[in-house]
Symmetry: C2
Subunit: 109 residues, 2 copies
């Protein structure tokens, strides 16, 4: 079976968006906050925060709306830009996977 | 810029062929022997030999014709099956890369 992976880099060869970034955004969306997502992904809060900062900087887009306060330490929701980004990435990912399956079915190895 | 990676796994989820396997075959073809290729790739001879055995077993195809003997310790040439395999893998790789570039140009992130 053929497997595929896609990711986006900027002109400097730095990672902009890939499976790791997607997973972070999906987990924040599900968990409702950076700290809960970091816990879920067994990642340090600072490490995840750093990745989010880099992601926003390299995309030139804000991906989270952070709501501070409360005993729970605040929540985060994805921006519309982030939701569109996720949809586009999933779409290209699926398309590429299907293209690869078709090519592999056709010619094999 | 979008980047892609493809690889083939068997039904047991074991790696059959990917960029690493391609690199090994290409290097053996260029260097003329497993030992020279291992040296070039800074890999142990036994490690490379193990990877080649696994590759052949999982593909169900012989990839090398080993010619023993001589002071140089013998040479290895790729089988026609291996050459076809390389061409097919490169073809799918290029096709997928192009498909991804087109999709990314079209919808972006």
């Amino acid at each position: 079976m053929i497997h595929t992976k896609i990711w986006i880099e900027n002109d400097q060869g730095e990672m902009v968006f890939g499976a790791g970034q997607l997973k972070i955004l999906e987990t924040i969306e599900n968990e409702g906050s950076i700290s809960a997502a970091a816990k879920k992904m067994k990642m340090g809060y600072r490490s995840m925060w750093g990745k989010l900062k880099k992601m926003e900087q390299r995309l030139g887009k804000q991906v989270l709306i952070r709501k501070k306060g409360g005993a729970s330490g605040g929540t985060s929701v994805l921006t519309p830009d982030a939701k569109i980004l996720i949809e586009k990435f999933r779409y290209i990912n699926q398309k590429i996977n299907l293209d690869a399956e078709n090519a592999f079915d056709e010619i094999g190895l």
